[in-house]
């Protein structure tokens, strides 16, 4: 039910809404002519609006072929670097969508996948880890069989289009490399009101994200924010039951934080902690001076902030290729947010450090 003022505004602007599909029709036809890729997106979008109207269901994030969507996960710098490495000449002022278009139009899908492979499921992302039992390996065949039973179809063989709601739904599974399986989920996000073309419309922010299964360790790596990691609990429990295993969320506490700091040879840049003393402060945050190499080893930091209950800390370290990486280690959510667009190798590096100290 819309609030009365919004309802009145809609009546004023005589907006025609689509009851089965809250998404707006796309107006930028002129832009679509200029950019062929956007024209394709436009066509796909309109097609699935029709599909939705017939009640088949849709996932907006999967309307595009997967590569362009996942390329948008990368930073402008990384897209530009990939384009240069592939002999394409990116414009210095190119935006993210310009660079994505350049790569999609300039490279064959296989070449594009090979060039961007290390970033496709990584980038700027939050990561939470769940382990089955004590980390005994999961066989690919067992996983395939469990997922097929759960979904009623083999997600490795076909892309599914379940009706989306607030619970993440599995769309697709892919056996990747290095013993990893990529599970792609979609979830219906918040419904927002947007004002576009003199019309108020309700738009649902559908969202797609990946879970990487590390078969050898029996670990699932949820590459999404805290909320969707929480909402995956039911799926994890169901998968655990189908595999005859128990899923446990792996903690990131002070011990894991310290181990990560040491293993990555990292520098603590920012820190936030809860103040339990009878003071007016709920949290206290501190960041280091440029000339301070590492807050964590400063006696003054230990004295002033050592008694706080940790909330999060930002670590800076050198990535596998020597590039500066920044991660936010969120202790209360037991997750790591890669502030810099991370490669698969960088996520592996962080995972390996944590794996050593998980109980």
């Amino acid at each position: 039910m819309l609030p009365s003022t919004v309802d009145a505004a809609i009546t004023t602007y005589a907006c025609v809404t689509h009851p089965q599909d809250p998404r707006p029709a796309l107006p930028p036809v002129r832009m679509s002519r200029r950019f062929p890729m956007l024209a394709r997106i436009h066509a796909d979008y309109e097609l699935t609006r029709t599909i939705q109207a017939t009640g088949i269901g849709y996932s907006r994030a999967m309307l595009l072929s997967k590569a362009p969507v996942q390329l948008l996960n990368l930073s402008v710098g990384q897209l530009s670097r990939i384009a240069s490495q592939q002999g394409l000449s990116p414009d210095g002022a190119a935006t993210k969508i310009d660079l994505t278009r350049l790569l999609v139009e300039g490279l064959e899908p296989a070449a594009l996948r090979a060039a961007a492979d290390d970033y496709l499921y990584a980038g700027k992302t939050s990561v939470t880890w769940v382990r089955f039992d004590e980390g005994a390996p999961v066989a690919l065949s067992a996983l395939k069989s469990a997922l097929t039973t759960m979904c009623g179809a083999d997600p490795f063989a076909s892309e599914m289009r379940p009706e989306l709601d607030g619970t993440p739904r599995l769309l697709h599974a892919l056996s990747w490399h290095n013993g990893k399986v990529v599970l792609t989920f979609a979830v219906r996000g918040q419904v927002r009101l947007v004002f576009q073309g003199y019309e108020l419309r309700e738009v649902s922010e559908d969202f797609s994200f990946q879970v990487i299964v590390r078969l050898a360790d029996g670990v699932l790596e949820i590459r999404s924010g805290h909320l969707y990691a929480q909402r995956l609990q039911a799926f994890m429990a169901e998968l655990g039951a189908a595999l005859g295993r128990t899923p446990t969320r792996l903690p990131i506490e002070q011990a894991q934080f310290d181990a990560l700091h040491a293993a990555l040879n990292a520098s603590l840049r920012d820190y936030t902690g809860l103040d339990g003393s009878p003071s007016p402060y709920q949290t206290r945050s501190v960041s280091k001076k440029q000339t301070c190499p590492d807050l964590a080893v400063e006696p003054a930091f230990q004295q002033d902030y050592g008694s706080l209950e940790p909330v999060s800390g930002d670590l800076i370290f050198a990535g596998p290729e020597g590039e500066e990486m920044a991660i936010l280690v969120a202790i209360r959510t037991s997750s790591v947010y890669f502030r810099s667009a991370a490669s698969e190798a960088t996520i592996d590096l962080v995972y390996s450090a944590l794996k050593e100290v998980w109980p």
């Binding site: 339990g276 949290t283 909330v311 969120a330 959510t333």
Partner: protein
């Protein structure tokens, strides 16, 4: 019965602090006991109405206090929290997101004040007694010394 280390810390906080709540972990550190032990004792003090409990929803993402619940309020564990102004990322409320802190009640404050007054009075009396005793001893010494010198 002598108060234990946790109760002594609480009494000290009740005498000094401005009324802001404190966490069990803070008391545990000052008292040199484990957090669980401190929490159990704080709960007992709350049952005795020496302390007031505060239940707050803490953002797991930022640590900010988002909502305060009063005793008897339903705490919506398992429900999604959406900030009214989108200032916080939404999350599903878990028990671990609820913080319990304590503040001294007026009853405890009055008792601590009375105790402080009594202690001050006792200290003053003791000091007065001591100084009169010292004066007496000094005058006796003076008397003894003058008698000796007179001999």
């Amino acid at each position: 019965m002598m108060p234990g280390p946790v109760e002594r810390v609480v009494e000290r906080l009740a005498a000094d602090q401005d009324g802001y709540p404190f966490a069990a972990s803070y008391v545990a550190k000052l008292a040199g006991v484990g957090v669980d032990a401190a929490y159990t004792e704080l709960e007992q003090l709350a049952t005795r109405k020496d302390l007031e409990r505060h239940f707050e929803l803490i953002s797991p993402n930022t640590g900010r206090a988002l909502v305060e619940y009063r005793l008897g309020d339903k705490i919506p564990v398992g429900e999604q929290y959406d900030h009214p102004d989108d200032q916080e990322e939404p999350f599903v409320i878990g028990k671990e997101d609820i913080s319990v802190s304590f503040s001294p009640t007026a009853k405890l404050r009055n008792r601590v004040q009375q105790k402080k007054k009594r202690t001050t009075l006792s200290a003053l009396l003791l000091s007065a007694l001591l100084s009169s005793g010292v004066r007496r001893i000094r005058s006796q010494r003076r008397h003894t010394s003058s008698t000796t010198m007179g001999l």
